[in-house]
């Protein structure tokens, strides 16, 4: 404690007194200046630890001396004064040492501080440098990202693919050896190549433009030449007229017809052009002509805009007048209807001639306000045909019937133009069918021949005549028309003989049937659709949707002994490409139909399903008669192979005359209905 307090006090003394007096006392003989300056140097030489030991030792000595002095003083003897003096001197020396140590310590402290300060400054400088560097790094990084994000314009350019580039570019551009490994060089090379190509293309474009210009000029020149040709040609034509007349060459007549054709409305014109083209190219027996008043047609087309105005004006007027004068309403509606259903004054006549000189005359009309076409048909035959006489017969050749369902479902009763319905509503026409007899039938195929196409869904405002549509339908339609006429003529003939109970079988078809057929057709009548629907055994056909209003229905009765076979026949208007369907009902030992007798079912399929072998010579107009004949045959087979009831006395009603391999076969016990021609036996199908 005491030593520390000493220590604290001493530095003050040293500072106020300064170093020199101390130095004088401590090391007297050495140069003062050197001493003073060496003291700082001395600090470096001396070991602080030793100084510390020295300090401790000095303090210890001092304590001991103090204690001795105290003891001597307390004893209070005389000689002790000298001893005390001696001790004091020693103490003084020790104090000197302490002072010296104190100075050294101060110098050391100062030195230490200086060093610390110096080091701190250094560190500060380094820190500053670090900050600068960090900032620089950050800046550089920003620059790098900026560079990386830089979008070059070349990326937007579409380049040819790599393989194509190496395949097509010349080696001086592609420089394979450099660019292969280096994507940068590669891209540069590809860009070069792109530039090169574009330059070439631009050059080519210029060339093309130039050649186009040139060609245009040429065309101009040629046009001028052609227009100058026209008057010269007409003068030649004029000059050749007498020659034509002299040589009976109808160029001019055809030309006149073409002249007339120019006044045809577009659909009829399309029909006229396509039909005459088809006639010239493929069908020599088709003749085309135009009928009607040309002057009226001309008048119709001269002031088209005026007439429209008139119409709208008159409409307005009419509205006013209807308000004023009610009694004339009906008359006016009638006039309106007439106006709406008005036909174009010109019509096109097509005459189709068949091999046997029978003709189908078709007259095509155009209803201007409804924008649909209609057709009227008439048949003329070379020889007089005996038509069936009995009541209920639909004349198959009547204008109303002959073209019905030329294409499936095309009845020609409704207007094909959906827009018409709205027009009808205005003037109070319910359906077009009431006027069909007068106007002709608007069959769909007629519209197609005239190039008119009506979409089913939405009524279109502008339906224009389309040549290609007409052309695509011309050939099939003409063939269908001819087939239809021949099929109908054949049917009419066949019906006439069927009515007398004779089934006509041509010699080519004889092989389909055995020589002896006992069953006979006794009745062949036409029945109405409603009557057919009411027959109990035709329900399946009606349910299957195979019986429609437009089809023709007949009832045949085939008899053998007590057995009576009724056959209900559905004749599709598309006969003979669509075969008739037979339903059978046998009255013999109870009523047997397909629902209670499998063999009746088999007989039905024998005539209705296996009809292909019954077509006879192409094109198969004898199908119906052959089917009826086969029906007679299978009835024979059915009756003759029926197992004999042993419980009934007497001989069998129908002795077996047909040759059969087996009478019955299979789980459903089928009878052998199939006739094998050359051998003449019956087998199972």
């Amino acid at each position: 404690m005491s030593t520390e307090s000493n220590k604290k006090r001493k530095p003050k003394v040293i500072r106020s007194d300064g170093a020199p007096p101390e130095g004088k006392r401590n090391r007297s003989e050495i140069d003062l200046e050197m001493k003073y300056y060496s003291e700082e140097a001395e600090v470096d030489i001396r070991d602080p630890n030793k100084d510390y030991d020295l300090y401790r030792f000095t303090c210890h000595e001092l304590q001991r001396l103090m204690a001795e002095i105290q003891e001597l003083k307390s004893r209070g003897s005389r000689d002790s004064a000298s001893e005390i003096e001696e001790r004091r001197i020693q103490s003084c020396v020790h104090f000197m040492t302490l002072k010296k140590l104190n100075r050294l310590a101060h110098i050391r402290l100062k030195k230490g501080r200086d060093q610390t300060h110096e080091a701190k400054q250094k560190v500060d400088a380094y820190h500053l440098q670090l900050q600068n560097l960090l900032y620089e790094v950050m800046h550089l990084q920003k620059e790098i990202t900026k560079c990386l994000e830089f979008k070059s314009k070349h990326e937007e350019i579409e380049l040819v693919s790599m393989e194509e580039f190496y395949r097509e570019a010349p080696p001086e551009i592609s420089k394979c050896e450099i660019t292969m490994g280096d994507p940068h060089q590669q891209t540069l090379a590809r860009l070069d190549w792109e530039l090169e190509q574009r330059k070439r293309l631009a050059e080519k474009y210029k060339e093309c433009l130039a050649s186009k210009e040139k060609i245009l000029k040429e065309i101009e020149v040629k046009k001028e030449y052609l227009s100058s040709l026209q008057p010269r040609l007409s003068s030649i034509m004029q000059a050749s007229l007498p020659v034509q007349e002299y040589l009976f060459m109808p160029f001019d007549q055809a030309h006149k017809q073409y002249e007339t054709a120019r006044h045809l409305p577009p659909p009829l014109y399309v029909l006229f052009v396509q039909a005459s083209a088809y006639g010239q190219a493929c069908d020599k027996k088709l003749s085309v002509a135009i009928e009607g008043n040309v002057e009226e047609a001309k008048a119709l087309y001269k002031p088209p805009e005026d007439s429209q105005d008139d119409e709208s004006d008159s409409d307005a007027e009419e509205e006013q007048t209807t308000k004023r004068r009610r009694p004339t309403l009906g008359v006016q509606l009638d006039d309106k209807r007439k106006e709406m259903l008005k036909r174009h004054p010109l019509s096109v006549m097509l005459d189709l001639r068949c091999k046997d000189d029978s003709m189908l005359h078709l007259t095509f009309y155009y209803l201007m306000n409804l924008n649909i076409m209609t057709v009227k048909a008439r048949v003329s035959t070379a020889t007089e045909i005996v038509t069936p006489v009995s009541a209920g017969y639909v004349d198959l050749l009547s204008p109303d019937m002959i073209l019905s369902c030329l294409y499936p479902g095309d009845h020609g009763k409704k207007t094909p133009n959906p827009a018409n319905q709205y027009q009808f509503d205005k003037v109070g026409i319910l359906t077009l069918s009431d006027y069909v007899l007068e106007l002709g039938h608007p069959y769909l195929w007629v519209q197609k021949l005239g190039g008119l196409h009506f979409p089913k869904e939405q009524p279109q405002h502008t339906v224009t005549a389309d040549n290609s549509l007409s052309a695509s339908h011309m050939e099939t339609t003409m063939k269908l028309l001819r087939t239809r006429l021949q099929a109908r003529l054949a049917l009419t003939k066949q019906f006439a003989s069927l009515e007398h109970g004779i089934v006509p079988v041509s010699s080519e078809c004889q092989r389909l049937f055995p020589a002896k057929i006992v069953s006979r057709l006794v009745k062949w009548v036409a029945i109405a659709y409603e009557d057919y629907m009411e027959l109990p055994y035709t329900r399946d056909i009606v349910e299957a949707g195979l019986a429609e209003d437009t089809h023709l229905y007949y009832l045949a009765l085939i008899e053998r002994g007590t057995a009576k076979l009724q056959a209900a026949v559905v004749l599709n208007p598309g006969y003979s490409s669509i075969p008739p369907i037979f339903r059978l009902c046998l009255n013999w030992k109870g009523e047997k139909t397909s629902s209670n007798d499998d063999n009746i079912r088999a007989m039905e399929s024998e005539v209705s399903v296996c009809y292909r072998e019954l077509y006879g010579p192409r094109p198969g107009y004898q199908l119906l008669t052959n089917q009826l004949q086969r029906l007679c045959v299978v009835l024979d087979v059915y009756l003759e192979t029926e197992s004999h009831d042993t419980s009934v006395e007497g001989p069998k009603e129908f002795p077996q005359e047909k040759m059969c391999l087996r009478l019955v076969r299979g789980p459903s016990r089928m009878k052998p209905f199939k006739y094998n021609h050359p051998q003449g036996f019956f087998s199972h199908r």
Partner: protein
């Protein structure tokens, strides 16, 4: 179209049906019976032409579907049958004497104990077909054979034919054991319908047969008719089911009979007449346990219980 034959797959989930055009259609019963069945699932998964003539009979073994056409038997793998363009595994012709026309095969019958196939049809003979022992022929019928039935307890097979007889054959010796001329018994004879036997079923002690003669239950050991079932229409298929007899034939109904001869129910189907019934009792698919009936139409009626027709599968 007429569907002559049906057979359920060994897994119980599929039904094969054969028609008069030689086609076989495979239906998925599980799809048609599931709760989310649509119209599509009532159509066949696949239809293929198996034979030239009608497919009169179909049976299923553990792995194969065997189909009989005119004069040939073909085997199809059930595992591959659903795939398109499936080919038969094998095709065999029974040893026929040469004839102007190929005899049809009206009935196929599996004899599981001996792993052999019995077939009978137009040539008035029974043929057995076995991979190991070859085949032999049982002769005796005087007209073609309609149907076969196996007595499970003794190795005997019954056959019924157009000649009006039901014959019992011993399969070990290949000899005829017994002949029952059904049409000679006044109780069941119906001469106006003919004497042919169209269907036959047996549960070893009893036999039920029908066709031209009325459907009749017979005691086999004494060969006497015990019950005549009062039905006018000739029957084309008959089978025992639990304590009932199910029969079908001319007319649109599946008839259910008590053994005593009472008509328990007549369940109407959708075809004018039925030719085959098939009971799916495969233990593997209890959810597909149904009765199916097919006949003179393109529809196969499905009865989920015996009371009413649930729906129809459509062949085409």
């Amino acid at each position: 179209m007429t569907i002559f034959s049906q057979s359920v797959s060994p897994c119980g989930k599929f039904l094969a049906a054969g028609n008069n055009y030689g086609q076989i259609a495979i239906f998925s019963l599980s799809a048609a019976l599931s709760s989310e069945a649509k119209e599509e699932s009532k159509k066949p998964l696949v239809t293929f032409v198996a034979h030239d003539g009608p497919v009169y009979s179909l049976v299923s073994t553990d792995r194969h579907l065997l189909s009989a056409g005119d004069g040939e038997v073909k085997a199809w793998l059930w595992g591959e049958i659903i795939k398109k363009g499936c080919k038969e595994v094998w095709s065999r012709h029974p040893p026929y004497r040469s004839s102007l026309e190929v005899p049809e095969i009206n009935a196929l019958l599996l004899n599981p104990k001996e792993n052999s196939l019995l077939l009978a049809g137009g040539d008035c003979q029974l043929h057995t077909m076995d991979l190991e022992t070859g085949s032999f022929t049982l002769r005796g019928h005087t007209d073609y054979i309609h149907c076969l039935a196996l007595r499970e307890r003794s190795p005997e097979v019954l056959s019924g034919g157009e000649d009006g007889t039901v014959r019992l054959w011993d399969l070990r010796t290949g000899e005829e054991v017994q002949t029952i001329e059904v049409y000679r018994h006044e109780e069941c004879a119906r001469p106006q319908n003919g004497k042919w036997i169209g269907c036959l079923a047996t549960d070893s002690d009893w036999m039920v047969c029908g066709g031209g003669p009325a459907l009749t239950l017979w005691h086999l050991r004494s060969a006497t008719p015990t019950t005549v079932f009062p039905l006018r229409a000739p029957q084309k298929h008959v089978t025992f089911y639990q304590d009932l007899i199910l029969s079908a034939g001319q007319g649109p109904c599946v008839n259910q009979w008590q053994l005593s001869g009472e008509l328990k129910a007549q369940v109407p189907g959708s075809s004018p007449s039925l030719l085959s019934l098939s009971l799916n009792q495969q233990p593997a698919a209890p959810e597909c346990k149904v009765l199916t009936a097919a006949g003179n139409s393109c529809r196969v009626d499905v009865f989920t219980n015996l009371g009413y027709r649930a729906f129809s599968l459509s062949f085409s």
